[in-house]
Symmetry: C2
Subunit: 399 residues, 2 copies
Amino acid sequence: MPYYIGDVIKDEQKLIVRTPEEFRKSGIDVMLRTGVDGVDPAKGTVSLSTGQALPYDVLVIATGAETVWPGIPGQDLEGVFPLKNLTDGLRLKSFLETARCKKAVIIGGGFIAMEMSEAFRSRGMDVKVMDILPAPAARWGGELGLFILEELRNNSVEFLPETRPLSIEAGSQCRLRVKTSKGDLDADVVLVAIGVRGKVGLAESIGVKKGETGAVQVNFSQKTSHDNIYAVGECCEVFNRVSRRWIYAPLGDVANKQGRIAGQNIGGTPGVFPGVVGSQSFKLFGLEVATTGLTEAEAIKSGFAPVSEFIWGLPMARQLSRGEKLGLKMTADRSTGRLLGAQCVADEGAVKRIDTLAVALWNEMVIQEVGYLDLAYSPFYGGAWDPIHIAAQNIARKL
Amino acid sequence: MPYYIGDVIKDEQKLIVRTPEEFRKSGIDVMLRTGVDGVDPAKGTVSLSTGQALPYDVLVIATGAETVWPGIPGQDLEGVFPLKNLTDGLRLKSFLETARCKKAVIIGGGFIAMEMSEAFRSRGMDVKVMDILPAPAARWGGELGLFILEELRNNSVEFLPETRPLSIEAGSQCRLRVKTSKGDLDADVVLVAIGVRGKVGLAESIGVKKGETGAVQVNFSQKTSHDNIYAVGECCEVFNRVSRRWIYAPLGDVANKQGRIAGQNIGGTPGVFPGVVGSQSFKLFGLEVATTGLTEAEAIKSGFAPVSEFIWGLPMARQLSRGEKLGLKMTADRSTGRLLGAQCVADEGAVKRIDTLAVALWNEMVIQEVGYLDLAYSPFYGGAWDPIHIAAQNIARKL
């Protein structure tokens, strides 16, 4: 009988689609509110917090990720929240309601910070986002970074660039006061969103090998350095098809895919996880923000000689537009012409372009062919020359 | 000096972005309202309707397509319109206004008929669409055809299946009466939209070779059977990368690409047109309708052994949906697992999925990898498992 041991969803059993009883009918024993004290790989047993020892033939480590904390005094005060899992989200939501929060400070300016700035604003709260970098959502730099910044400003979110949190204290006007390298900020609630790292303690304790990123090393069938131990999701690495490195990319869709591949292999049907190209998107008020592959800086780090092109285009044909904007940056390798990555921010149609280019990246297409891709043209969804074609052809002319 | 000889845009010079004078400054002589009586390839001259004979080193045939008429009595009556070019559109629009048309009958049920049914309805007109086939927009069959039919019905467009026009006569109540195999229809205006064919008369007259489709045969640099004669756009064929046949695909984006490739080659920079995969889309009231690659029937005709899967999915994650629908049909080859085509109809996100799959087709991806493509996941734009993944994995399980 397969066992599932979990604690993440323990607080909100009502949100579980199937109850443990229903799982049991399918032959799966789901043990909620159950911790794991240790694993004995020699004996093939898992020691539970209940004292019980469960035998296993195959073990899957899916311990997920944990919040990275800034490591500053006061980060454990009431009103300071991480947002890693459903439980965190529910706790935060209930705190916002009961404590009647009006001022939010977000430490970190990545995509979780961006999404949460919108969530706080939708409750009418005052929102300040601080980051040690000069712009939010750093993977979208230059013109696209300014476009994002403008959207934050238009929606009354204040972004504090190059700002380091120093400590969090009890406040006078508000519950909390965040001391930063650029002055003090009042806050009813503070969200810590500077990133996550793989939760690898259990894996480490039994000698499962970690990769260079610090997350658990796996092979293409999601197997770890131990023959009967698999790892999936945000505790392990994933192969990037563009940089040809094993990277740490803690994203929900990737975790889902790895889980299915591990399950398939354990079940006796071989399957390999083909890796990722680095696709990602989020919504920010009225904008779609999306990326795939390497940024120009990442391309240089990977040893490519990138040539980039930034264009402003339109999500639809010119005669149908009402002032919508679409900014697209595309990067290719000078020596091979190979597409390396793209970032897009638009009032609409950014994710569509990035998904299209993600498949081009997956297949190692050269920029010359990207410039002539056969897309499903209709004036409502693009021009006869799509921004993808225009940016690619502009790059091709530079090679 | 390059010459451009044209008549298509003669009625609406105000719509030309650049005037002939402006073109002349760029060294291009644009001769509007000028017909071509003949070409003498031995001498290398074009005889104009003005009596003049123009010499050429290189000739580009871009004569476009012409309307296919049903060949029935009365098709030349006033109030019966084709819709092939801008001039047709302007004439039709002015007729609708001056003749105060209230009832439209559309002969043909393809994508032009679908788009025009919406245009007529937006003017408050009564619209009937007839086709000899059992459903409109035949490339989207089965469930997707019913979805399209439902959208027509919800917008008060009547579709008459398996109906053949017999003749058009002067009417009593209305200007016109269309006699069909299923009874008579009153109409103030009749639109003929049963298709187009390449306008190849000029090419034929000088012995330029035609392909099996009846359109002008070209090679990958858009050159015809004559060494110094090129052809581009809706008068010539295009290579389909999936069926590996030269097909006739009169679409604006394809014409644009062919024109650029021909120009590049004539200008001395070699370039090849890599062909199409058969992508196409249109808007129908609230629906996005899109397709790429081969339909199941076309796949059989091309010698593949297709396996298909139809699913209903969502354009976004379930928790954000408000009843939107997305229907996706995907087809792969049983022996190789190669993706062969897809059709998608949705309240939103159909073109996005089809563009993504168009690139997968372009690269001859197998369905197993399509099932694990790295798309830019965010709940607003798809689930962690996108309909693309689900349909592809369902097919993979059938292989």
